[in-house]
């Protein structure tokens, strides 16, 4: 995608999100969350536009956008895979799961696949230890994951992508 159409896409996404919130500094986090969800990252032009739209100084927007783990200033995949490496999942073989996912997708921790479909991120405890080892893709939790189930799980998202 060239820069121009990317900027236009960002601009219209941000304009849409801003339209759903009151023009006030208190809307900042909600707006950032929605734009992150829509674009899978927060490009600088988006942050500048948000700062302007909500009358929040740019330094404040940058401060918030770089503080929370939920936000990313570089492009993230269309789906985020959280691999739990908390205590329970670790004991139940999270290491193996992480390795399997990363080698299947050819990405390291915190990285995004070349085609932009997945970002892989390890986390500490998803809060469902009884399902260990667990992973979460976008908002869906998968429990008692075994490496050979991964192709099936990931396949669902691939199919949806190519459909």
């Amino acid at each position: 995608m060239n820069n121009y159409s990317e900027n236009a896409r960002v601009n219209s996404a941000v304009t849409g999100v801003l339209g759903r919130y009151p023009d006030e500094p208190a809307s900042l986090i909600g707006v950032l969350q929605d734009v992150q969800e829509e674009l899978h990252y927060l490009p600088r032009v988006a942050l500048e536009q948000i700062a302007h739209g909500l009358s929040v100084p740019r330094n404040q927007v940058y401060h918030v956008a770089t503080f929370f783990k939920a936000f990313s200033l570089t492009p993230r995949g269309r789906h985020t895979i959280h691999i739990c490496c908390g205590t329970a999942c670790h004991l139940k073989g999270a290491g193996m799961i992480a390795e399997a996912i990363q080698s299947t997708l050819k990405t390291g921790d915190g990285e995004t696949t070349e085609d932009g479909s997945f970002t892989v991120q390890t986390v500490r405890c998803l809060g469902c230890c009884s399902l260990a080892p667990a992973i979460m893709i976008d908002r869906e939790v998968y429990g008692e994951v075994v490496p050979r189930a991964l192709r099936r799980i990931l396949g669902k998202y691939w199919e949806a992508e190519s459909a």
């Binding site: 600088r44 942050l47 100084p57 740019r58 330094n59 940058y62 770089t66 503080f67």
Partner: protein, 282 residues
């Protein structure tokens, strides 16, 4: 409102902090992130004191804590000193080359920190106290800098780590910084003279003094000062040196340069701090 401070009964305004009452009453409490010009933030935890009410006692930050009726506040108990030692040991691990931190640590009996990463002494000078951010936000009103990122990557910077046109090169952040982490450098010989905010990725154009021709401040700073103290910008067109010359023959010498002023200021603050600690511990 009555409470006791190191055993003395003291009256305080409702809402007044322990630190403010202590200072008024000549009781010394060390601080790093507090400055009367800006709002308190509780970032450094060096100012901790022990507050007891009834049987219970706890540690609070004196720059934020407003005492309740009949609180007993102690500013230098062993428990307090222990917390300060921990704070200083951590700060020393982060900023081993900062003299103020080293002196404070030494005053609390710490020679070296247990918390080094073995990578050799770090050159880091910033303790993330946030004074620079608050002075720029609250006093200068430019919102040019802020904390960014999190965890060990946390730092002070401009939006997107690049040139911040919000910055007017006033130097307030440089002066208020307790550890000398921020600097500016003037390039007066350039065709367009500039002030370089060294750590802040920012250059601010300077104009020349109407009398001596020395480049000394930015047009945006004139505008700001002229608005905030209500003097016409023309009064500001001469540099402070030329202005004082024309105001009074006796003030003919140059005032100290900005960095020298900052150093002198840091020294007085530092020596005051240390003198009081030594006095208390002796």
């Amino acid at each position: 409102m009555q409470f006791s401070l190191n055993g003395r009964n003291i009256a305080a305004e409702p809402g007044e902090t322990v630190l403010s009452v202590a200072r008024k009453n000549g009781v010394f409490i060390p601080t790093l992130c507090h400055h009367d010009a800006v709002s308190p933030s509780g970032a450094c935890r060096l100012c901790v004191v022990q507050v007891s009410s009834g049987e219970r006692s706890r540690i609070v930050s004196s720059c934020l804590y407003a005492p309740s009726e009949n609180d007993r506040v102690e500013t230098d108990t062993e428990r307090v000193r222990k917390v300060r030692r921990m704070v200083l040991e951590l700060l020393l691990a982060r900023c081993p080359t900062v003299e103020l931190i080293r002196d404070l640590a030494r005053a609390y009996g710490i020679q070296r920190s247990r918390f080094t990463d073995g990578a050799g002494p770090s050159e880091e000078r910033c303790v993330l106290c946030g004074l620079c951010v608050r002075v720029c936000d609250e006093v200068v009103g430019r919102h040019a800098i802020s904390h960014a990122k999190r965890g060990i990557q946390r730092k002070i910077t401009t939006a997107f780590d690049t040139q911040a046109d919000e910055c007017i090169g006033c130097g307030a952040c440089v002066r208020i910084c307790p550890t000398g982490a921020l600097h500016y450098e003037d390039l007066p010989e350039q065709k367009q003279p500039e002030r370089v905010m060294v750590e802040l990725h920012t250059r601010v154009p300077l104009v020349r003094c109407s009398d001596c021709g020395r480049a000394f401040a930015s047009p945006a700073l004139f505008e700001h000062v002229s608005k905030s103290v209500n003097v016409p910008p023309t009064t500001l067109a001469a540099c402070p040196a030329c202005r004082s010359k024309s105001f009074a023959a006796t003030a003919a010498q140059n005032p100290p340069s900005a960095p020298a002023f900052a150093r002198a200021h840091a020294r007085t603050y530092q020596s005051q701090l240390l003198a009081s600690i030594n006095e208390e511990s002796s």
